[in-house]
């Protein structure tokens, strides 16, 4: 089977695709994009989350053939530019800066899910964040610092919006008050 699709803005194609292959397999093994992860390949962990025509999906559950002719955005497509000078997406930056990354295997999926959440809801409440990320398992962090990162990214996005409209910059943690638990730094 031959498939053509758009990945991170570029037309891509793959030959000799076996019909049972998932979009995840094609991205990882045929297109050289291993960013989306393969923690369960059963739709249970969210590590393989990518955008398909703008909607986040578990790419392990999408048959490669179904993705033909459609637009896919992976975690590799979220930052602008490449190499040392690349401009990370605010969500990516927030994950690094808030210690939300340990082993990092859940991270690409969580970043896409968070990116989507903040597109739809720029300043989500704590319950809204938890609900949106309930399909993304993380075994390392206990989620606390992931929640910090989402709050921080949400604040950062609001800052960008505000500064673009000429409003005064808020602080990065201004939307953090919904969080009931420990959010602070240890120092």
């Amino acid at each position: 089977m031959h498939i053509e699709l758009t990945v991170n803005g570029s037309p891509r194609e793959a030959d000799d695709v076996w019909p049972g292959e998932s979009l995840l397999y094609v991205l990882r093994e045929r297109l050289g994009l291993p960013g989306a992860k393969n923690a369960c390949e059963q739709g249970e962990c969210g590590s393989c989350t990518v955008y398909l025509d703008g909607t986040p999906v578990c790419s392990c559950l999408v048959a490669a053939g179904q993705a033909g002719g459609r637009e896919v955005t992976t975690v590799e497509g979220l930052a602008d530019g490449s190499g040392e000078d690349r401009d990370l997406d605010p969500v990516q930056r927030a994950f690094v800066e808030n210690g939300a990354v340990q082993c990092g295997f859940c991270t690409p999926g969580l970043i896409v899910s968070t990116h989507d959440l903040l597109e739809r809801n720029p300043s989500p409440s704590d319950p809204e964040i938890r609900e949106a990320l309930a399909g993304n398992l993380c075994r390392c962090t206990g989620y606390e610092k992931i929640l910090d990162a989402v709050c921080s990214a949400s604040g950062a996005r609001m800052d960008t919006v505000r500064s673009a409209s000429g409003a005064r910059m808020g602080t990065v943690r201004s939307v953090d008050t919904d969080r009931t638990g420990a959010t602070g730094d240890l120092r």
């Binding site: 291993p34 992860k37 082993c103 609900e131 309930a134």
Partner: protein
């Protein structure tokens, strides 16, 4: 001593203050050097590897927990187009045995399979699906044998031996601990029989790697692991190749938690690579992962404590039985911990305890975070609550009163020779603010948005726990790490490079190594070289030991390098070396005055030192009495859990999981918090939901659909207090951090559920049916 609390009042510094490349000394929290790669998808995990001309390996596993292999026919599989090789035990060139403590497990089963999922044959093919289909075409004729699946039957005289050559039959190891003479009478006696289910590490990155043959009979293996050198030795032995003919390289590790201490696909990929002459990639599915690594031992625990009327402990008696499953793995050491640490951080004048691990035909069990202490903690903390209730004492004060203090002997007679703040930790968690009353938001209720309850049957409960754990390898093991540090000049700047074989598994050791080098060498730029077997062993990333032991090795190597550099500078400057320091990329005088640029001193002649570093020796406990200085360091932690339980539906919502832990010295405070948060949630998972269900030796739930780990909806806010009582014997005063929270969180959750439900629950995980029955 200093104490730090989250939420903190100090705001997090802006990112610009902690760029990863050049800042961050001991006590700072620099950004992870691998963080950017991990958020952009570029970090190469072991399952991401790819090689020109590579093929795929898959494993055929036994469907039976116990069977004789009568015949294997690989003809049809070999005939399938695209298949390069099909291997069985007959194709193993070296010694077909692996194992961490006893080499008792064949890399590929020979005449007998001893657990469901035991590897029997391997296939290499051009596509993973081709390989899977070929594996399904291998015909294995089994003669099914009766399976030993009840660990309590393992030592019965009429039970057949699973490893006839094992000197103690189905007993892997027994550790008795006797202290203080015969068990006295006591006015108050409490006892329990407790059961702990089998927990899975459930790291997210599947077992995977790439083996690349070198064309000369050797192989390079890129793999996710916790201990490259023990893997290397086992691989070479099975392949029958000489030392350093298998070179291991650490690929990106997607979590470990003990589950990567044993071999998984390592030998298999290498066997296929050497047979086919091609690079071979293997990557387990989640289902295969449940069969591809050892689990946490299920345990039966019989405990009895005797006390005075006021609750002061007189004696502790215990019998711990760990189900080791089909192969030994690290069962011996787990039993060692269960025995020597099995009564918790309390003072017992008299002890009579025995811990044993047995062989069965259940899945092999071995290392998981908390290692033997997790199981015991559920029983000793249950009894401390029972005792408090019996004597009418406050459960926190009862623990504080009986808690170990610095200078006390523990149950093996070892003097605790640094801080043992049991009373302080448990009182601290008690004194933390309690969460507010239950709201009306469904998300805050047991069952959540499932809309199962509106709160009618919901009761709140609070539970406490305080526990301790040994840090580092114990019982006389020669526990060391090797580090090479090099100072050189790149683009006019001094750069320190640090090379060890220590496995970064997510915990942040790469940051810690760089922080140590910056602190010791006064440089801004540090490069952490990839971990591999080109340097000596660093020991395992387990037992919460790497910051201590590899941190110690990196510091020692830095000191040697620094001495040579200062010697050189002293010669040029004509001043004594003892009056010089390194700071800010410069050689400075004692008062801070800059005397020379470090880059100028180094010039074209880099300085490099390699050294091994070991912690204080330990001894094997006496085989009759268990007495002896078995451990090098102890780490203490306490938890308080607050839960809401719907007593009609059996649903539980953990409202808060607060903790206090002594970390000695927080080398990287953010990473310390990350370990405590993640570790606490793993312990909570065991109390609430995590169990590998095994019936008649068959695993019933090998998927994330049926084996549940906590999601962000299950996870409560965590208030954390970190104590820093330095251990004078450890580098920088550090105390291992990773495991303690996993030990103390679960018993606190279980106690809180008992309190809320008003039920005497004696097993974990606690399922809804236990609460409502």
């Amino acid at each position: 001593m200093s104490t730090t609390t989250t939420p903190a009042t100090t705001p997090r510094p802006a990112a610009g203050d902690r760029t990863s490349a050049t800042t961050g000394r001991i006590g700072d929290s620099p950004l992870r050097p691998d963080g950017t790669l991990k958020v952009t998808g570029e970090f190469a995990y072991s399952s991401d590897l790819w090689h020109e001309d590579m093929c795929w390996g898959v494993t055929l596993r036994s469907p039976h927990p116990h069977a004789r292999i009568v015949a294997i026919d690989t003809t049809a599989a070999l005939a399938r187009p695209g298949v390069f090789a099909v291997l069985t035990a007959a194709d193993v060139p070296g010694v077909n045995r692996t194992g961490l403590e006893h080499a008792d497990q064949p890399a590929l089963a020979e005449d007998v399979v001893r657990y469901q999922g035991e590897p029997v044959a391997l296939v290499a093919a051009d596509h993973p699906e081709t390989a899977r289909r070929a594996a399904a075409e291998i015909v294995v004729e089994y003669a099914v044998l009766p399976a030993l699946t009840d660990p309590r039957r393992a030592l019965d005289p009429d039970t057949p031996l699973l490893h006839p050559s094992h000197p103690t039959g189905n007993l892997v190891r027994e550790v008795p601990v006797r202290r203080g003479g015969p068990v006295p009478d006591a006015p108050v006696v409490v006892s329990v029989e407790f059961e702990v289910g089998m927990q899975d590490q459930a790291f997210l990155g599947p077992e995977s790697g790439l083996a690349v043959p070198d064309g000369e009979g050797g192989v390079d293996l890129y793999v996710a692991t916790q201990w490259l050198h023990t893997d290397q030795q086992q691989v070479q032995r099975v392949l029958g190749i000489g030392p350093d003919a298998a070179r291991l390289h650490l690929a990106g590790v997607g979590g470990a938690f003990g589950g990567r201490e044993d071999l998984s696909m390592h030998v298999h990929a290498c066997l296929l690579a050497l047979r086919t002459g091609k690079p071979v990639k293997m990557s387990y599915s989640r289902e295969e992962s449940f069969f591809g690594h050892v689990h946490r031992h299920p345990a039966h625990l019989r405990y009895e404590f005797g006390a005075d009327d006021d609750g002061t402990l007189r004696y502790g008696k215990a019998e711990l039985t760990f189900d080791g499953g089909a192969y030994a793995s690290s069962t011996g050491a787990v039993v060692g911990n269960g025995g020597t640490l099995g009564l918790g951080p309390y003072r017992f004048p008299v002890v009579e305890l025995v811990a044993r691990g047995v062989y069965t035909n259940n899945p092999p069990c071995g290392a998981m975070r908390g290692f033997g202490c997790v199981q015991a903690a559920f029983a000793h903390e249950y009894l401390m609550d029972a005792l408090a209730e019996r004597v009418g004492a406050d459960p926190v004060e009862l623990r504080a009163r009986n808690g170990m203090r610095e200078g006390d002997p523990n149950i093996t007679g070892q003097t605790i020779d640094s801080a043992a703040p049991v009373a302080e930790l448990i009182r601290r968690v008690r004194d933390m603010p309690l969460p507010g009353e239950r709201g009306t938001d469904l998300l805050g209720l047991p069952g959540g948005v499932g809309n199962t309850t509106h709160g009618e049957g919901v009761r709140r409960g609070i539970g406490y726990s305080v526990t301790y754990k040994n840090i580092g390898f114990s019982e006389g093991f020669d526990d060391y790490s090797t580090a090479r540090v090099r100072l050189s000049v790149t683009a006019g700047e001094p750069v320190a490079s640090v090379h060890t074989a220590a496995a970064e598994v997510g915990q942040g050791l790469v940051s810690v190594q760089a922080q140590i080098a910056r602190t010791e060498l006064g440089v801004s730029r540090v490069v952490i070289e990839p971990a591999d077997t080109a340097i000596g062993s660093a020991g395992s990333t387990s037992a919460s030991r790497q910051t201590y032991v590899t941190g110690g090795a990196v510091r020692a190597a830095c000191e040697l390098v620094r001495a040579r550099v200062l010697e050189r500078a002293a010669g040029t400057l004509g001043v004594p070396a003892a009056s010089l320091r390194l700071d800010g990329d410069k050689v400075v005088a004692a008062g801070g005055e800059v005397l020379a640029g470090l880059a100028d001193v180094l010039g074209d002649s880099p300085v490099e030192e390699t050294t091994e570093w070991r912690h204080r020796p330990t001894v094997e406990p006496d085989p009759e009495t268990g007495q002896g200085d078995a451990h090098v360091q102890y780490a203490f932690s306490a938890h308080r859990a607050v839960v809401d339980v719907d007593v009609e539906l059996g649903l539980v919502k953990v409202i808060a999981l607060d903790t206090a832990q002594d970390v000695g010295k927080a080398i990287n405070p953010d990473a310390v918090l990350g370990q405590i948060q993640g570790g606490s949630v793993q312990g909570m998972g065991l109390a609430l939901m995590e169990e590998v269900l095994v019936t008649d030796g068959q695993v019933r739930n090998p998927s994330f659909t049926d084996y549940l780990i906590p999601t962000v909806l299950d996870t409560p806010p965590m208030r954390i207090e970190v104590l820093e009582n330095p251990d004078p014997h450890a580098p920088y005063g550090v105390r291992g951090v990773g495991e303690p929270p996993t030990i103390s969180s679960g018993p606190a959750v279980a106690a809180a559920i008992r309190a809320a439900a008003g039920k005497d629950l004696r097993r974990v995980p606690i399922r809804p049916e236990h609460i409502v029955s």
